[in-house]
Amino acid sequence: MKCFAFHLMPWDRLPADFGEKYESAWTWLPNSLYDPKHGHTLYNRFLDELCLADELGFDGVCVNEHHQNAYGTMPSPNLMGSILARQTKRCKIAVIGNALPLYNPPTRVAEEFAMIDVISGGRLIAGLVVGGGPEYYSFSMNPTHARAMYNEALDLVVRAWTEPGPFEHYGEYWKLKYVNPWPRPLQQPHPPIWIPGAGSKETIEFVAQRRYAYMGIPYFHVDFFQRNFDMFRDCCQKNGYECDPEQLGWLCPIYVAETDAQAWEEYEHHFMYFAQQLLKGLVVLPPGYTSARSLIGIHSAMKQFLINVKTRKEIEDGAYAIVGSPETVRDKLAHYAKRLGVGNLLGLFQIGTLPAELTKKNLTIFAQEVMPALQKLDTRIGVAV
C-alpha cells in the first residue's frame, strides 16, 4: 500500500462564538474573519509539513481545491502543487482535484497539470472532480449542469493530453476552435487520474468503466466506505477486469503519539474543532447536483457522517479517525486497509487547530514506526496478512 499525506490547509482561528453566531464555515462565512498576516504563517507552515512528508519517505502528498471557506483555504491547489513540484524531491504530488466545471475553458486544467507534471519530472497525480456542493454557490455555477459539464470537460482534458493538436472541440458547454495546449504532460499517455466520490453510484460506475482510481471522500463511517468500495470492485468485474487496490483510496484522519492515552489527550479537542466547526455547512445539496433520489440517499447517509459524531467511542467504532500509539495505529490501519482493499491511504495528519509541533511529531512517528509496515502490506482482497 502507498501512504500519502493529505493537507486541507484549514483555518485554525475561528472566533469563540462561531458555533452560535455562524451557520456555516462555508460560502457565507464573512471573509473579514480571514487574517492575511496569520495566513502568511499558516501557508508556509503547511507547505513545510508537506515537504517534511516528502523527506520522511511518504509515497505522496495531496492537496485539494475549495473556495470561500475556513475548512480548506486552498482555492488553487495548482499553485500549491507547483510549489511542491519544486520543493519536494521524490514524492508523488496528488492534486485531488481540480473542480472541472469551474475552469473556463477546462483546457486550462490540461495546461496547468501538464506544467506541474513537467516541472516535477512526472510526479503528478491528476485529480479531476465535479466540485463540492458549496462551490456551486460560491461560483454561482448552475448545479443542474454540473454532471454534464464535468463529463464534457473530463473528456476534453484527456483528449487535450493524448491527441495531437490543434483540434476543434464543439461541445455543449465549450466551443473551442483551437485546442492545442503547451506544454504536454511528461507522463505518457497522461498522468494517473484520480476521481474522488461521495458514494454516488453514477460516479463509481463511471470511474470503474474508465479504469481510473476512485478516492473515497472522507468522514463517513467505515461501513459506508466498505459498501462503496465493494460496489466499485463489482463494477470493475462487470467491465471485465479485477480491481487493482491502487484504484482505490481511503482518506482518514490519523494521529500517532507515544501512547494511546497521550494520543487522545493531545488530539481529541483538535479533532472535535474540525468535526463540529470546520465541517459545519460542508454538506449543502444544491438542486440538480445529483438526482433527487441520490439526494435523499445522501441525507440518510448523513447519520453516518462525522459531523454527527459526539464521543470518542463513536469515532473509534466508525474509524472516523485512527488515533493511538504506533502499534495501535499500525494494527488498525492494516486491519481496515485489508478489509477495504485499498491500495492508497490518504492520511490527514494536520487537522483544524492541530499545532505545528504536534503535526510534525505525528508525521515523524507515523513515518518511522507505522508507515514501513503499511508500505509492505498487500491489500488485495483475499490475500492474507
Partner: protein, 260 residues
C-alpha cells in the same frame, strides 16, 4: 372536481389539471410547484375554467433537459396554447410563473388578453436584493417565504420535513427552478428592456412582507409595464395566494372581469 391529464406539447409530456367553469384562465405556477389543486385555484374556478399546467421538470411534466431558461418555458406555453387552440386568454402567474407570463406576453402578445403578476420573479432591482431560495433548511425556508412561519397553510405549500411523502417532487421542483433561475439568479437581465412590449392590461399583486422578492420589484414592474396597477397585500409575504387566498382570488376576478 378538477381533472388531471397528460398531453404532448411539442414532444414534451406535460401534466395539465383543469377545473371549474366559465372562460379559460391560464395559471402559471411558482417555483414551489403548486401543481395540485389549491384553495385559491378553487376560488378562481368559480368564475373561470382554470388551466393549471406543470412546467417541464415539475410534477409529471418532462422535458427539462431541453430547457435552459424561462424564455424556453414561455415558448413551451406558446406551443401549449397552440395545441389547445387558445389565444387571447388571461394569464395569472405567481413568482416563477409571473416571470414566465411576462416573457410569454412579450413573445406572443396575441396569446395573452390580460396579465396578473403575483410576487413575480424576472427582474433584478438594484438596492433590493432577493433572498436565497436554494437552501436545504426547510424551517429557514418557511421563515423566508411566509409572513407567519407557523401559518397552518404552509402544510399545503411545501413539505414540512424530509420524511414528507412529497419530498421527491419538491426536490424535482427545486431542480427545475435552479435550471432556469440559478444564474442569473431568478431573473432575466434582458427582461426589463422588453417590458414596454407588454401590450395587455396588467395587474400586479404583491405581499408587502415578501423577503424573497421584495416589494420594490413590484414597484419597478408597475413603473415599466404600461398602465400596470400595483396592489399591495398587508397580510402576506411571498406566498400571497396561500396566505390570503380569498383576497387574492377576489382581486384577480375583479381585474379580469372589469372592462379595460
Amino acid at each position: 372536481m378538477p381533472s388531471t391529464r397528460t398531453i404532448n406539447i411539442a414532444g414534451k409530456k406535460t401534466q395539465l389539471t383543469e377545473g371549474g367553469s366559465g372562460p379559460p384562465l391560464l395559471y402559471l405556477h411558482s417555483a414551489g410547484g403548486e401543481t395540485e389543486w389549491m384553495p385559491f385555484h378553487e376560488e378562481l374556478s368559480r368564475s373561470f375554467t382554470v388551466l393549471l399546467p406543470a412546467h417541464p421538470g415539475f410534477a409529471d411534466s418532462k422535458g427539462l433537459e431541453e430547457v435552459r431558461d424561462v424564455t424556453d418555458y414561455a415558448w413551451h406555453y406558446v406551443d401549449m396554447l397552440a395545441e389547445l387552440k387558445l389565444k387571447n386568454v388571461p394569464v395569472v402567474g405567481f413568482s416563477l410563473g409571473g416571470w414566465t407570463g411576462m416573457e410569454l406576453a412579450i413573445l406572443r402578445p396575441a396569446l395573452v388578453s390580460k396579465l396578473v403578476l403575483v410576487n413575480s420573479a424576472g427582474v433584478r432591482v438594484a438596492g433590493s436584493p432577493m433572498g436565497e431560495l436554494f437552501i436545504d433548511d426547510l424551517a429557514k425556508l418557511r421563515a423566508l417565504l411566509f409572513k407567519d412561519p407557523n401559518n397552518p397553510v404552509i402544510k399545503l405549500a411545501m413539505p414540512m420535513d424530509l420524511e414528507d411523502r412529497r419530498i421527491l417532487q419538491w426536490l424535482a421542483a427545486r431542480e427545475a427552478t435552479a435550471r432556469v433561475g440559478w444564474n442569473p439568479y431568478l431573473h432575466n437581465p434582458r427582461l426589463a428592456a422588453h417590458l414596454h412590449r407588454i401590450e395587455c392590461p396588467t395587474k400586479i399583486l404583491w405581499g408587502r412582507h415578501d423577503k424573497l422578492i421584495p416589494l420594490p420589484h413590484g414597484e419597478f414592474l408597475a413603473s415599466r409595464i404600461r398602465g400596470a396597477q400595483l396592489e399591495v397585500f398587508d397580510g402576506s409575504a411571498h406566498m400571497l395566494p396561500f396566505e390570503e387566498p380569498v383576497k387574492f382570488a377576489t382581486a384577480v376576478k375583479e381585474f379580469l372581469v372589469s372592462s379595460s
